[in-house]
Amino acid sequence: MTCSFNLAAEESDKISKINFSDRIEEFSLDNGLDVILIEDNRSDNVVSSIWYRVGSSYENEGITGISHLLEHMMFKGTEKFSAGEFSSAVKKIGGTENAFTGRDFTGYYQKVSKEFLSMCLEYEADRMINLNLTNDDLISEREVVKEERRLRTEDQPISIIFEKIGLHILGMTDYGIPIIGTMDDLNNITLSDLEDWYKKYYKPSNATIIISGNFETEAVKNDINLYFGSIQNPEMEFDRVSSKIIKTSFDQMLLREKLPNPILILSFVKPKFADLSTKDAYALELLLEIMDGSFSSRFTSNIIDKKIAINTFISYDLFSRKKSIISIGGVPRRDVTLEVLKQSIIDEFIILYNEGLQDKELRNTKARLIASNIYKFDSIFTQTMSVGQLESKNLSWNLLDEYVNNVNSVTEQDIREVAQKYIINNKVQISLVEPE
């Protein structure tokens, strides 16, 4: 357990000892269920989680949002545990539980004191195969999800904009599909759709259990074997391939939304992580951090402080399982046009490519990324999420331990090259948003 440190050790030694590999154990059961145990004895808590390799990128038009809707339905109980019974038990012991759906995964977790871990595993195993799916529950839970969509998307102009851009560039497939689904599809998903989805994806061979925190390894292994070992993988194969042609476009979009100021968004397509070289992947991470990762970044100094924009942003998913979008943009100052802001943003990448980095810029940026990496170890929940997200994308948790070395290996030339390859010479889609 390298999360505990020797007080007498040197500071640098202390920092370099923070990793996963010395305290992680992974194995698979005969039925294909993957298990990852992450030991961290800083408290008596444990996070028990299960990750299914299914999310919105597995869906297609007609059933968008089904992974997320099923996540909600997973709390409706089984024959053994009535709806709310397990949540009530977790609450009573001071624990917390929740679930989440992403593009590549649907996950469930409980954070409890270690003596209650076994109870959580028993429950997860039960709802993996014995979920009660009923029409009555679907009718009310569908409304809850529609309320969630209204709250987070329909009444949030920024969310609407990014949903539209995703559909425009990637189409109603893979990472273009909104995680929460369209309102039409939410209205049309049937109980039979949910049953099929559940049978196809909720099985041991499509799941990973990740447990982090304070636990007795042998006891946990016994419990996992006891509760999950006998679960068979149902023979349920179906393919709901949409017959519709996926429409995509890089044409400029002009949007009108209820916003106080115009917004410019430049979108670039980034290959999936598996198709990036290690050098490119981490150089891109550093490039985007240098541009807009902090108050010390170039966009702040050269675009905000020079009165071109009120704010700027960059969003992207380094570890994406499919091709994804790098979004770069900002809100121009009142006397600045969207065209001027666009050119200023592009110019920043061109200047970096032509002139390279400034004194200490690379060193300081690496320091920020490496420190942020250390902070992740403060929380067993964050550790679980970091490992789970990678594993669900068929990537290894080893990438987390390799992160510091990979970041440290990036050179100025690497950064200049990715600036050229993924931004300057890459196809750009421009979205201009005007206030309604």
């Binding site: 609450k91 917390t96 100021n261």
Partner: protein
């Protein structure tokens, strides 16, 4: 059977619970400087809290939040303060609420970093980099945030509810202020506000992480070196007794209507704090399984998020209920809440519900203290409410002493249902 066993275990554990909490050290015996030492990770989390919040803004509504926001943007030798922090990977945050202002930092615990952080905080609090240019730039940014806020139905509903509920007091305006008040701020008044905050307010400091008491004392001493601090008493109590039952409907073009209900309740130091805490846990403060969640979301699918919580200030507190629902469901949702509030008034909970909630609240505190960040948050609350001595013991005993009868009495005496505000904002 399994759950019965768990219940028994939970009971046994609660008795020896206090020992499981981390030890709170008063740094050099100062009750306002608290430390929880944790050497597991090379991280230090630090929070400085000033006992001045936006209720002291006076006519310049939003000035304190605006001014605190300038601190890290000051130029020191042509470089912003925040740049010095970020060069070592430190994360800086500041926030202002109605009664307090915070500055917090998280950084890797090398001795070089500790030295740099204390030096730069000292320079930052010396205010030598507050310039007209900085103020003008910040105005543009804050005005944009204000404009955006007023287009967000959830935030606008909360703003409107505060304005009505706290009408005529320093608590009514949004912390960030209004466009007209921000536009009129000048350098002198901002500088005066910051001087008052840094030199005249009471300061409490909370530290969690890889640092000793001695080093913490040096860090604090260096942060405030060469400052002549003369703390003065904070503002006079806020009066809100003029409020009567009130309903307000505001049209806003959105797909959902936001419902905010404010009911005058108790302050943190009230003797009935633990009674009301347990009651609220059952009513709407504990997520799934709470009365409100069950009736509004689980049974009817009327809302994604519905909860109640105790919002507590120095002089009083409020029981708040918050939800959002499709515009078509508003009247039904309000009717259900009204029925649940009537049940809450008479507190028809079972003994089993009370026992479960007590166990949950006791255990949850320790479960939450499993990261430095969460521990800092709890330590900071302990510090702000002057609850340093025997906090954990008092908390556990306080909850253990709650029973059905004491809750009923507390609700009857302390929750002023007849003075509630119900605000709805939405339409289309």
């Amino acid at each position: 059977m399994r759950f019965l066993l768990i219940t028994t275990i939970a009971l046994m554990l609660s008795t020896s619970y206090v020992d499981a909490f981390p030890k709170i050290i008063k740094i050099k015996s100062n009750k306002d400087y608290l430390l929880i030492e944790n050497r597991d990770l090379p991280i230090i989390d630090l929070k400085i809290t000033f006992d001045r919040g936006s209720k002291s803004d006076g006519e310049n509504e939003g000035i304190l939040s605006f001014s605190v926001n300038l601190l890290h943007q000051q130029l020191l030798n042509s470089k912003k303060v925040i740049n010095y922090f970020e060069e070592i990977g430190a994360q800086y945050n500041s926030s202002v609420n109605k009664e307090r202002s915070d500055i917090s930092l998280r950084f890797v615990s090398t001795s070089d970093n500790i030295g740099l952080i204390s030096k730069k905080i000292n320079e930052m609090l010396s205010l030598n980099g507050i310039s007209q240019e900085l103020i003008n730039e910040n105005k543009v940014r804050i005005l944009n945030i204000i404009n955006r806020r007023d287009l967000d139905p959830g935030r606008l509903a909360q703003r409107k509810a505060d304005e009505i509920f706290f009408s005529g007091s320093g608590m009514s305006h949004p912390t960030i202020g209004y466009a007209r008040t921000i536009e009129s701020l000048d350098t002198d008044i901002i500088r005066q506000t910051l001087i008052q905050l840094i030199l005249k307010s009471k300061i409490s400091i909370s530290i969690v992480g890889d640092i000793s008491e001695n080093t913490s004392a040096i860090l604090i001493s260096n942060m405030f070196a060469n400052m002549r601090r003369v703390p003065q008493k904070s503002d006079s109590p806020i009066k809100y007794n003029q409020l009567r039952k009130n309903t307000k409907k505001i049209f806003f073009d959105s797909s959902q209507t936001h419902i905010n209900i404010y009911i005058p309740a108790i302050k943190r130091e009230d003797e009935d704090f633990y009674n009301i805490l347990v009651a609220n846990h059952i009513f709407g403060g504990s997520g799934f399984g709470s009365r409100l969640m069950r009736e509004i979301r689980e049974k009817r699918g009327f809302a994604y998020s519905i909860y109640s919580y105790l919002s507590m200030y120095n002089d009083f507190g409020i029981l708040k209920i918050n939800l959002q629902t499709d515009n078509r469901n508003v009247s039904q949702a309000l009717q259900i809440i009204s029925i649940e509030l009537d049940k809450f008034k008479n507190f028809n909970a079972t003994q089993e519900e009370v026992t479960s909630s007590k166990k949950s609240l006791i255990r949850n505190v320790l479960t939450r203290m499993d990261t430095n960040i969460n521990t800092l948050q709890i330590l900071s609350s302990i510090n702000n409410y002057d609850l340093q001595d025997d906090y954990y013991k008092k908390y556990i005993t306080g909850i253990q002493n709650v029973n059905l009868k004491s809750i009923k009495k507390a609700i009857s005496n302390k929750i002023k249902f007849e003075k509630s505000l119900t605000l709805t904002l939405g339409g289309r």
